[in-house]
């Protein structure tokens, strides 16, 4: 059963991701069509990042609004796991790049890797919970 905070989070997160897709496509189209330079190019480059930043705010709100302390503790654990994955991947990648074994990798992959790691860890915790104790 999802808590009210979780339902609100899903709704807000989905909205921010839909905005991200829309803004990203619009910015790519505008950049290719008008080939802007200077300040307009900076604005078009930064715009797609705004919904992603909003998504992070939404995640923060979820933590604040979640009243179930056990669920909140699991979210924090999963977030920390995600941070661990991102830091580990970036460290390994950095050393591979240092020795010219890997080329340029866009740093904006950090957020999706973190979010996916978080989600996978949450799935693992849910699976583990379903195996321990059972429900009545």
């Amino acid at each position: 059963m999802r808590t009210q905070a979780a339902k609100r989070y899903q709704r807000r997160f989905l909205s921010s991701m839909l905005a991200y897709v829309g803004i990203l496509f619009a910015c790519v189209w505008a950049t290719n069509t008008y080939e802007p330079t200077g300040v307009p190019l900076i604005i078009l480059s930064v715009l797609p990042a705004l919904p992603v930043i909003i998504a992070m705010v939404v995640m923060g709100l979820y933590l604040i609004e979640e009243t179930d302390e056990f669920v909140r503790q699991r979210i924090v654990s999963a977030m920390l796991f995600g941070i661990g994955v991102v830091l580990s991947v970036s460290t390994v990648l950095g050393f591979l790049q240092y020795n010219d074994l890997v080329g340029k990798v866009d740093v904006f992959w950090g957020f999706p890797i973190w979010a996916m790691s978080w989600g996978l860890f949450q799935c693992f915790l849910t699976w583990r919970d379903s195996r321990v104790g059972g429900g009545e």
Binding site: T3, E69, V71, D129, G133
Partner: protein, 68 residues
């Protein structure tokens, strides 16, 4: 931290879901507390003691005394 939550709940013939609703938490929370995978905060422990009309010590065992 060991507790008597499962026993007390069974005595009252309550499901985990029913207890969760009384405590205003998820069923997973009740399950995690019962199986000792999660120790509730003091406010939640007081809420549990209110629901069962018992003191906290009658529900949760003192870990330092357990080890003594």
């Amino acid at each position: 931290m060991n507790n008597r939550l499962r026993v007390l709940r069974a005595e009252r013939k309550w499901s985990q879901q029913h207890l969760a609703e009384l405590l205003e938490v998820s069923r997973q929370s009740v399950n995690a507390i019962e199986t000792g995978r999660y120790d509730p905060s003091l406010p939640l422990a007081f809420k549990i003691s209110d629901v069962f009309d018992l003191t906290i010590e009658e529900i949760f065992s003192n870990p330092s005394k357990e080890n003594a």
